[in-house]
């Protein structure tokens, strides 16, 4: 009882600022835990390719600018650019599964955030399309624009700018969906962008992109099958790999500044011990990876790749734990609201079922059911025709008296008109046909019309 009271009390408090919508009243297609696993795993696959696409295009740009002085770096840029074509396609297609899963698990939250930032959200489609077309243009004009590097680099720079902006839109949405209590204050994308936590998370994501791309290219350019020496004359495989390792290590160190910042700016409502533990484990797993990278960079040239497998394993663990942390926060933060929503949905379904069982009396039919023989016909008229015809004077169509004068003694003609009206009068709109009326309804209707005096 007292629990009930305090629960109700809390509800009223929450309600004054927080919308509590109803959920979609259909069952989840799979057990919730399974959907969560699918969401976390498929999101991870998606985001890794997004990281590679973004990091790849940033590094291509860097290498191409450097290539203005040193031709070898222009070649490097071309080699990196080739990977973007593949990574960007996988990024998009792998995005569908997490999108599906988040749609099912967080229907109301996700769509509400989308609608509140609607114009920017839908702008993702043309923006990404443009960025993709620009990357193709950049790739396929590499030799044609050999003598016009400025233009060629600008094409890529524009694509990079778009690539940098898109994650911001996604992050804003993913962030906004966690805070129904803020929805009432949001007026468009910019105000959602300004919520705390968006920018720290964004920087965290950018650094992750560079780290992951660094590791990917470390492997890609270091493979035995990759004929490095046929592409490059003066720079060595070791030089490049060392630079990539240094990049990955450098940004990883920086993540230890950004990570706590993200955690501090996170609104307190979802921060609980389970979150802290998961995040700390994730950070800890990164430490040995960083140590192995350090050893690679400072060690003998031929041993730089020695611990690479271990680095990847530790980093995978980090990424997995961080992704789980995201989810833990999300479910912590939304749990109370979800509960309210479920209750409200249930209550509404009950009310709806009850109203279905005892519908309110239909005013238009009761008004007509008053004994006279023409009553059923009048009801059909009321339901179908009264919006456009009245007894005297024009409403949308001509008055009933005019119908009577035209069709008196021509019942079939009237029926035919009702089923399939023609076009007669100047300045009147087209009357709709009523093929859906049954023969019986039509008969009582026309009897009624012709009985009007």
């Amino acid at each position: 009882m007292s629990y009930n009271y305090s629960m109700n009390h809390m509800l009223t408090l929450l309600q004054s600022v927080t919308p509590v919508p109803r959920d979609i009243p259909l069952a989840l297609p799979l057990p919730e835990w399974l959907l969560v696993v699918l969401l976390v795993v498929s999101f991870l696959a998606h985001i890794i390719f997004v990281n590679l696409m973004l990091g790849g295009s940033l590094l291509t740009l860097w290498a191409q600018v450097k290539g203005l002085k040193n031709k070898e770096y222009d070649t490097l840029a071309y080699e990196i650019a080739k990977t973007i074509t593949v990574n960007k396609s996988l990024a998009v297609v792998l995005g569908v599964a997490p999108l599906l899963s988040i749609n099912v698990l967080y229907t109301v939250y996700f769509y509400s955030a989308n609608a509140l930032t609607g114009l920017m959200w839908i702008a993702i489609v043309p923006l990404v399309t443009a960025a993709f077309l620009l990357t193709y243009l950049h790739k396929y004009t590499w030799h044609k624009l050999e003598d016009n590097k400025g233009l060629h680099i600008s094409i890529l720079a524009l694509a990079v700018l778009i690539f940098l902006f898109i994650p911001l839109i996604f992050l804003t949405n993913i962030n906004l969906m966690l805070f129904p209590e803020k929805w009432g204050t949001i007026k468009g994308f910019m105000s959602a962008l300004a919520l705390p936590n968006v920018f720290p998370r964004y920087l965290h994501f950018l650094c992750a992109s560079l780290a992951i791309t660094g590791l990917f290219l470390f492997w890609y350019l270091g493979r035995n099958r990759y004929a490095f020496e046929t592409h490059f004359k003066s720079i060595t495989r070791y030089d490049i790999r060392k630079q990539l390792y240094s990049l990955a290590l450098g940004v990883s160190v920086f993540q230890f500044v950004l990570g706590p910042l993200v955690l501090i700016t996170l609104p307190a409502k979802g921060v609980q011990w389970n979150l802290i533990i998961v995040i700390l484990c994730g950070a800890t797993a990164a430490l040995p990876a960083m140590y192995w990278m350090w050893k690679g960079i400072t060690g003998k040239p031929e041993e730089i790749g020695m611990n690479f497998g271990k680095v990847i394993m530790a980093m995978t663990l980090t990424v997995l734990l961080m992704a789980s942390g995201r989810h833990v926060y999300r479910s912590n933060a939304l749990a109370p609201h979800k509960k309210l929503m479920a209750e409200k949905t249930k209550a509404f379904e009950r009310l709806s079922a009850e109203a279905r069982a005892h519908p309110a009396p239909d005013e238009s039919t009761t008004a007509q059911a008053s004994g006279t023989p023409a009553a059923p016909g009048a009801a059909v008229f009321q339901a179908n025709c009264a919006s456009c015809h009245k007894k005297e004077g024009r409403l949308v169509g001509p008055p009933v008296t005019e119908m009577v004068s035209i069709y008196q003694g021509n019942l079939p003609g009237l029926k035919k008109w009702i089923r399939q009206p023609g076009k007669k009068r100047e300045g009147y709109p087209q009357m709709p046909g009523f093929p859906q009326l049954s023969e019986q309804e039509l008969t009582i209707l026309t009897d009624y019309i012709l009985s009007v005096k």
């Binding site: 959920d23 609608a115 009310l351 709806s352």
Partner: protein, 482 residues
Amino acid sequence: MDFPMFHLDWLNDRFLIAMIAIVHVFINHGLAVGFIPYITWLEQKGVKMAGASNITDPEWDHLVYRKMKVAFIITTTIGAMTGVGIWFSAGLISPSSIGSLIRVFYFAWFVEWLTFVTEVVLIMIYFLTWKQSNQSLKAKIRHIRFGWFLSVFSWITMCIIVSILGFMMDPGNWNTDHSLISGFTNPIYLPQLFFRTPTAMVLGGVFGMLLTTIFTDRHSAWRNTVLKYGARWVLCWAPVSLVAAVIYYKAMPAAMRENMSTAVGTMEFAQYYDLLRYIIPGAVSLVVMLGIWTLFRPRSVRMWMVLVPCVAAFGFLGIFERVREFIRKPYVIGGYMYSNLLREEDYPLFKRDGLLKYATYATASKVTPENKLSTGRDVFMLSCSRCHTTNGINSIVYVFERLYGIGKPLDENSMAAYIPNMHNGRTYMPPFPGNNEELGALVAYIKHLQQTGEPLEGAQSAGITVNPGNSTEQIADSVQSK
């Protein structure tokens, strides 16, 4: 009513979805489903024609490769992103319906996603390894095999999407048992699939011929041969497409056909309907004429001669999509959810207690003389805004003025008499969901719109107002008091 209402007050919300969807269907059918098998077939021909000493004819192969490059670039950019765009726009405009569909079709979409991933991987293998595969006959044959795999997977992707489209038109038994299988076996599925397959092939072939005329000059060695193969491809599929179009049209459920004939009544839809009747035989015979002409006089074929049937064939598909979109009004999910995103089964409750009482976002939960305009706006947003704007495309003021006289002041009583019955005469619209007070507020608002031309901002710019009277507590109380 449970989602903030995104609203484009000039463009019209449905228009946004339709635009994105139609571009996607064009690319999916014309540049993937119908185009890839055509390309693979030509690649194979190149190997057959090359004779024993060569792997393939380099010039022929390069021509086919360039055509594929066009398809690759377009499908992996505009094609892929409009596919995502359909989701995004539907989620903005029809969140309750897409949310419901995903719950029912989660597996179908998951399988769809798996085939889609396969398709993307295959198209990358197929296109990006094309040149390397020319180094040995064995590699080339394997490459061609990838082309066929890719063709099959694009077709399977289409099969699944078609089932979802078919479901939205006529859910078959789904309304009674709400399960996946019944949604899949809905009666419109096979006819629609049967229509789309040959039509895609025709589109792919004609588009391929168009590229041939662009990429070759009139004296180049292979132009005539490639064109003739294109003609054979198109001639083979065009009659099937015609027959399938007729079958598909006939299979549309009876109610839908009635809806279409009602549609004929209104002036604007009469145009679509007429177009459909002329454009089917028109487009098909243009394509057939092009095919026959090319077979006999390939030398005389010019780019514009291919462009015209190509545009006509895409128009043919476009008009079918348009009519398909239209004939499922007033429902988004037949028999379950109306296009205004309200469930049919909740109507008795809304009629009894009013719509605003249950709206999560509204300025008030009850109409009073003071708040008539703001609640009228809420009612409009909830029950009309998915299809009508205030002053833009298909504006509510315009449709009423068309009834009562352009420019004449609207009469609230006439409108209030019209709206509760509008679904009988205009079967493409759902019934009005609210109670009498809400009806009064709505017509007052419409009249106000006519007088002031005031625009209506959607949640994307105006934000939301949480309904002050709609709390879980109150609903719980009213249940208990019964």
